[in-house]
């Protein structure tokens, strides 16, 4: 199993470097953003906003969201595990893998562990970015913000874990189309809807905030859900792999 994990990490090396570059970029952008809010253009806007009723509150809300979005950017690298499937297909690794003295559970397990290692790297990147931001401003206390990042990360993790069995079922080529197409269509309709209906956009943001609050108040349940998702995803992937074994 360790051998297959090593293989995954070798083939995802370039992706991991991209992840590292994104993290460094995010750290730099976050610091610039924070510095600007103290001494630069954003600071000037802040002064002007202070004069307006609820201006400071408004600015701070968008400021927080902006920084948080930047901080969670490295966790987007989670999606890179898909490249493992794509590279395996491209190389014709299935036949090699099947001829190795490893079981189906070990093959799937190795992919999941590689995924979790990748997830750990992504999360460390996001935490590192937050660490530098917390040094520059008190607005983002390290512990609290890390927890927020972790919660968002868990949502992304659950999404990716739901995707993995589908990769085993449909294969990387078909699943890319199957997953991308609805997302593009949804995004297009969503954008048009928001642009034409400001109240709806506000409502969506409020719902999102409410959901985030609910996650914060029911953290234990949420983490259990995350764990169950991991186990269920692995279980279904194993089932699918075994079913499709000998039928590539």
């Amino acid at each position: 199993m360790k051998g297959l994990m090593l293989k995954d990490l070798y083939i995802l090396k370039r992706n991991l470097l991209t992840c590292l570059t994104v993290t460094v970029g995010v750290i730099l952008l976050s610091i610039l953003f924070v510095l600007s809010s103290r001494y630069g253009n954003i600071a000037d806007i802040l002064v002007k906003l202070k004069a307006e009723p609820q201006g400071e509150e408004q600015f701070f809300a968008s400021f927080r969201v902006g920084i948080l979005l930047l901080l969670i950017l490295p966790t987007g690298c989670l999606f890179m595990i898909n490249n493992g499937f794509i590279e395996d297909t491209k190389a014709g690794f299935y036949k090699v893998q099947t001829s190795l003295p490893v079981t189906a559970a070990q093959i799937v397990g190795a992919r999941y562990l590689s995924f979790l290692i990748l997830a750990g790297i992504c999360l460390t990147g996001a935490f590192a970015a937050e660490f530098f931001v917390s040094l520059a401003t008190d607005a983002f206390p390290f512990g609290k913000t890390c927890l927020q990042i972790f919660n968002i990360f868990c949502v992304l993790l659950i999404y990716n874990l739901a995707e993995l069995p589908l990769y085993y079922y449909f294969g990387p080529k078909r699943i890319e189309i199957l997953l991308c197409l609805p997302l593009v269509i949804f995004y297009a309709f969503f954008s048009i809807y928001i642009m034409t209906n400001a109240a709806a956009a506000e409502q969506i943001i409020k719902t999102g905030m409410k959901l985030a609050r609910q996650i914060s108040t029911r953290q234990t349940a949420f983490y259990i859900l995350c764990l169950i998702s991991t186990l269920a995803s692995y279980f279904f992937s194993c089932l699918i792999y075994k079913k499709k074994e000998g039928n590539p």
Binding site: L6, Y10, R14, A91, G92, V96, S99, T103
Partner: protein, 283 residues
């Protein structure tokens, strides 16, 4: 002689192709050549053997064990070379060594690097930059570095230049001679197998047409060269196939010595393995 591979009544159907009750045995300590045209069913048989594809029916035993029951144990003892390398282009032999070290219990790192050196393969160069010959050599280095008892090779010499092909065949022969190892080698290049194989199995359109000791095959078959007028003299029961020409015909017969006695005035030649196969296909 004990059999390392025993396949019985193997069936597998695809659209437009099927393996029809394939049965074959690979004796221990031998090189068995698996001959057939492109698309004859060689790769399908090998893939079935390795459980890469499911079979419809039939049984497969390797080292006397049921493949489905002891799959991991069996795979630990097999070295495999595919017609196309399945390793990632972005990986280097050095990384491959690290991977295999953690996959095979008996992985011999020193042996692997010795093979790399012998084959002139750079350890830190990406596999994607290797030529076809180098890719084949890399697969062979992997296959020979984990104390395998059986080597299964699917068209390892196709597309290679004669020098590399010759080098490969020497390696297989040396492997077989050391410690009573077994080689099961599929190819459509009959001259390669004629040179090194002890046993020959011939497959065509998913059916095994011939499976025996190579020397016995060459010894038993005869090529009668007859004039048109003598064609009817040859008993049909002796004939495998006839190739007619303007002046006469060439007849492949089953029992050379018997036919020689039966038709002493007819010219009898020893056919090559390639000629035998061609006659069988056209029969």
């Amino acid at each position: 002689m004990e059999n390392v591979i025993e396949i019985e009544n193997l069936c597998k159907s695809y659209d437009g192709f099927s393996l029809d009750n394939v049965s074959l045995c690979v004796p221990a300590g031998s090189i068995t050549g698996f001959i057939g045209q492109n698309g004859a069913g060689k790769t399908t048989t090998i893939y079935s053997l390795l459980n890469i594809i499911n079979t419809d029916s039939g049984s497969i035993r390797i080292f006397g064990m049921d493949y489905r029951e002891k799959e991991t144990e069996i795979k630990e003892r097999i070295g495999i070379v595919f017609d196309e390398m399945g390793y990632h282009d972005s990986m280097t032999p050095f990384q491959l060594n690290r991977m295999m070290k953690n996959v095979y219990h008996n992985w011999q790192e020193d042996v692997f690097f010795q093979y790399l050196e012998r084959f002139g393969l750079p350890a830190r160069k990406k596999c994607g930059k290797f030529s076809r010959g180098m890719r084949m050599k890399l697969q062979i280095a992997v296959a020979l570095s984990h104390k395998a008892d059986l080597l299964i090779l699917d068209e390892p010499t196709s597309g290679l230049d004669p020098i590399v092909r010759n080098e490969m065949l020497n390696i297989f022969q040396t492997f077989m001679e050391e410690e009573n190892h077994t080689v099961f080698l599929s190819s459509h290049i009959i001259s390669d197998l004629e040179r090194i194989a002890d046993e020959i199995t011939f497959i065509d359109k998913g059916r095994i047409l011939l499976s025996d000791n190579k020397d016995k095959i060459l010894e038993q078959h005869g090529l009668l060269k007859v004039k048109k007028a003598d064609l009817d003299r040859v008993d049909k029961a002796d004939i495998i196939a006839v190739k007619k020409s303007t002046y006469g015909a060439e007849i492949l017969v089953k029992n050379r010595s018997e036919c020689h006695q039966k038709y002493p005035d007819l010219l009898m030649d020893s056919p090559t393995l390639e000629e035998i196969m061609l006659f069988y296909v056209t029969a």
